[in-house]
Each structure stands twice: as C-alpha cells, then as structure tokens.
Assembly symmetry: D2
Homo-oligomer: 110 residues x 4
C-alpha cells in the first residue's frame, strides 16, 4: 500500500504538510530523531525492568512516527522494509541452530 | 487490525515463535534493542548527511522490527500508537503557531 | 588542566592532527558519534545483564574518546564539565530526600 | 591515578555514597544511562548543526558522569581506557592511509 492509500501514513503526511515541516525532515535529521526518541523510550527502563505501560506506549509512538516518516522519505513502506529484512534474518538464523538462543548469528553453534 | 490479521506482524510472530525467542523479548530488552539499532541507523550518517539508501533501509528495518515486537508485547498495534500520539501532537503544535518552525512546543511564539 | 597539559587529551589531539581529522569533528558529528558508540556499548547488555568486561571496556573507551574530543571542541575539560554538573545535581537531589531512591528529582517525596 | 587520588572521581564517588545509589549503578543500568544521556546530547542538534554551547556542555557532562561511574565499576580509569583504545585505533588507521578520510578502516584505500 502506498502512503496515499494507508490511513496512518496519510494522516502523518497531512500533519507534516500543514505545518510545512518536510523541510526539516531530511533522512539525517529523521535518523537523529529516531535515536533521540529511542533514548526516551529506554529511559522508561533506566533503573528497572518494569515501566508504566502508558509511558512506554507514548515513547514508542514517537520512535514509530519518525521511522514511518523516514520510510516515506526513502519511498518505501514500513511493511516492505520489515518483510525484506525478515527474509535475510531468516537465512542467518535457521530454526535448528537459533532455537532458544540469543547469540549473534556468527556465534551460534554449528 | 490485530496481529493475527496483519500479514507483517503475523510473519514476525511466526518467526519469533519458531525460534522460541519470545523469552528474550521482554519490554526492557526490546527497548534496548531499538536504541541499539537506532545507533546503527545513525551510523549511516556519522560523518555526513548523505548515506547509501540500501544501508539506511536495512538499519531502519531493524528499528521497525523491534518496534513492532514491542508494540505487540504491549498489546497495541503500531497504527493505533502512531494515531493516538498524532492527536496529542496536533494539540501541542497548532498549525498557525508551528508552521515552518522547528522549535519545541514550549518555545514556539504565541 | 588544559589539553596541552593533560597527557591523554594531548595524545588524542596529536592522533587527530596527524590524520587531519579535525575537519570531521564538528560538535554535531561528535554528538552523533557518542550516540552511535553508546549504542554499541548497550549492545553488550542487549539480552542479559552480564557482559564480557573486555568488550564493555572497549566500547566505553569509544564513548569516552568522542566525549573528550567534544569537550575539547567546546574549550572545556571533562573534569570541569563533570564537577560543574555535579554541583547542580547535588542541589536537585538533597541527601535527605534522595537517599536510596532512583526517582527523578521532580518525583521524589518531599 | 586511582579513584581515591583523582579529585573528580572522588567527588563522584562521595556523591553516590551519600545517596546510597551504588545499588542502582549496575554496569547494565549505567550503559542504559549513557545511551539515554547521549540521546539528550544529540537532541541539541536534532534539527540543525548549531546548538547552544551551554546546553551541549550540560548534556555532555551527563554522558561523562555515567561513563566515569561505569569505568569505576569496571575497576578502570577513563584515562587508561582511552589510551589503551587509542593504541588499537592507531594500528587500524595508519596515518598514510587514513589522512583526511572518514571511511571505516575496512573501506580505506590500500
């Protein structure tokens, strides 16, 4: 689905257009923004593993918003990016070797 | 759309289940993972504003993948998180005050 | 101690000068570099709280290196930055209110 | 210089001890804290390359503070970490190949 056809991405695009903010949304600035928001998300878990769900949702929403805007700038949909990468990851982590293990692919047992 | 009905999230859920990886995917670990991948995305732009599109897509896909998994852990869809936050942001950044400006809402001119 | 008098900072400055790398070390690029290296440091702890000490030292060294270079660009020493901030933090977290608590200052009990 | 002999690290250690905060300062929590503060530092440069120097100093101080605390937890000084890594980096980036170039060592011309 292109941006025009997806209601969430269409709402984001309209929001940005009304404010004339596309000028700020270079790929580099969006990448910085994703890292900044990822830090705020991580802050929910700074001193312990539990966090208030509403706060986590709020910060995750910011990460997703900038990630959607960057995908759009690259002319890709989030869905195709995730699925394309999933195929690569599937090949790197075969079920029989990776099952129940958290090591990186180059450290998995043969 | 619930995870079961969304083909991308269903593919991710199956990928994780086959590898028995849900045990590693606590909200805290997923938040760390998003921050780690956000750093790798930022690395595409470390020394200049231009970056190879394929590499950016690849790193953005990792951010999105962990963000989708965290949304799922929270029982929310990425779409509803983005739209809920967009309503809040709309209220904080009215068009007439925010148009063409990159300041934070509390620094915008009245 | 100014950079010239501090052996670590003098070694870093010489390393950069020999390679003609100061041109890349704008404050913005150094801030990005710190965030990138902080992500690599965090990766040591991605799936569990234990990490190999040597790997942690290696990644922490990268964070420190870019942090020292940024302090230098700002004409400040790391020591004075840390001490100045410590005074502010001391005022925000009085011993009697903050003892044994991890909340942010605005959530501490009176 | 050990922590006891270095005035900045001694001040930090006293600050933490008075508040009984060492219990929160696991290596993992400190690594998260460094990433969180690195995000706040990056926020100074979110939409443009210029940033207010005082704000940058303030955020950089937070990164340095947690980095110093982590070094201390690892039984190392920031100085030795930086110098040890510098030797490794020197070997990876010989002056004649790296001069004036920002590529990673494995992409430098022979």
């Amino acid at each position: 689905m292109s941006t025009a056809e997806n209601p969430v991405r269409a709402a984001l695009a309209a929001f940005v257009a009304e404010r004339d903010w596309a000028r700020f949304h270079t790929p580099e600035n969006l990448a910085k923004s994703i890292a900044i928001e990822a830090g705020e998300l991580l802050e929910c878990f700074q001193w312990n593993a539990d966090a208030e769900a509403e706060r986590v949702c709020d910060e995750l929403a910011d990460v997703l918003t900038y990630a959607y805007l960057l995908a759009d700038r690259l002319g890709r949909t989030p869905e195709e990016l995730v699925l394309t990468k999933l195929e690569l990851t599937r090949a790197k982590y075969p079920v029989e070797r990776a099952r129940g293990r958290s090591e990186k692919h180059d450290r998995l047992p043969e």
